[in-house]
Symmetry: C2
Subunit: 204 residues, 2 copies
Amino acid sequence: MTAGDPADTKTPGAAPVRRLRRAERREQILASATRAFARAGFTATSLDDIAAEAAVTRVILYRHFESKADLYRAVLDRARTRLAETAGAGDFTDAPIPALLCAAAADPDAFRLLFRYAAREPEFRDLTRPLTGPLTAASAEITRRNLAPFVPEGPWADWAARLIPAVTVEAVIAWLDAGRPDRETAAERIGHAVHGVITAAQPR
Amino acid sequence: MTAGDPADTKTPGAAPVRRLRRAERREQILASATRAFARAGFTATSLDDIAAEAAVTRVILYRHFESKADLYRAVLDRARTRLAETAGAGDFTDAPIPALLCAAAADPDAFRLLFRYAAREPEFRDLTRPLTGPLTAASAEITRRNLAPFVPEGPWADWAARLIPAVTVEAVIAWLDAGRPDRETAAERIGHAVHGVITAAQPR
DNA sequence: GTATTTGTATACTGTCGAGTACACAACAGG
DNA sequence: CCTGTTGTGTACTCGACAGTATACAAATAC
């Protein structure tokens, strides 16, 4: 469907009053879809579920998005953007854990969706990888760098490199589930837990 | 569908030679279905996928199982049984981590399926809960007991109680992914990592 | 060899969900 | 008021998949 998006064919002088409505609706749909997808993942969430969540019908979704996959892509994209914005400059290189906590607190649904579901849907990894890739690759890289001085190359370094991002994410989600007590303490303790994993990976 | 199962209407003295064939086929189907489900979860795995994995057609599946849900239940049940058998007496109370490693090594697909997918399919929690319930409830209980002496009741105890099983499972899966280096060392290191989480949950 | 049981395959039905066509409602500008 | 644009809803098509009916092949018991 290369049918021209109506937004592209407008005359330049047209008043963009209506357009705002459209953007608002789109935003509302994206938020609802994020909630819906975060509950059950992509395949298990029907467009009717999303439409119900957004209090509209399924057709409306197609007025704003070309397909379910397109909507999903937009949801993931928005999630990544929002998380990156709240987390700071979008780089998780300096202080990843506070940034993650900040992002998770700002949009828990987006966080759960990106880090729990999106990373694990094999058939849509090509869809999610360009979004989660920067984050997971970065964290894996950081992990490797922080690990290198302590843990020699080998299966145990692999083990730790795989485990640390998972632990971090699980710790953040557990923090959300536990009622988000004191964010700074949480950052400290998650850092401590991760440090424990690094220590565990070292030969004794 | 109360149509009598042909197996029930046999004469008592019939030689049960054929039955073995049937049991073997059933077992093969269960193993294949475990692999298939472990790849993508329940909803994303079609009966054709499973049939292809077992090198039979879809109809055969119905000769052995009443429905997809029934097959899934049987797969989960078998997974739990096999894991419990390899892990020891089926109780994870004494030395949960070596038991988990043993079970994961013996049947990685079953392990991944039970602990990764089955625990997270919301629509089938009623199906999976009677199977994963004993395990997760037990581990949560153990966690709470081991935590009580160190961490005071409150959100942080909740946090740790949620996190520890997740970390354990992730550590085991990371160990599988890393090529299963030396199981005893793995048990030690996972124990160490979990200890790190417990320490992290303590107020300083 | 004939009947019964088990394994196999082809072809069907029915349902659910993705995607579409078309009719209707609200609001701007002429 | 009429027209065009945008938002909305009803009713449809189409395909994938769960589940079923039925015919066929191999092996054993009599």
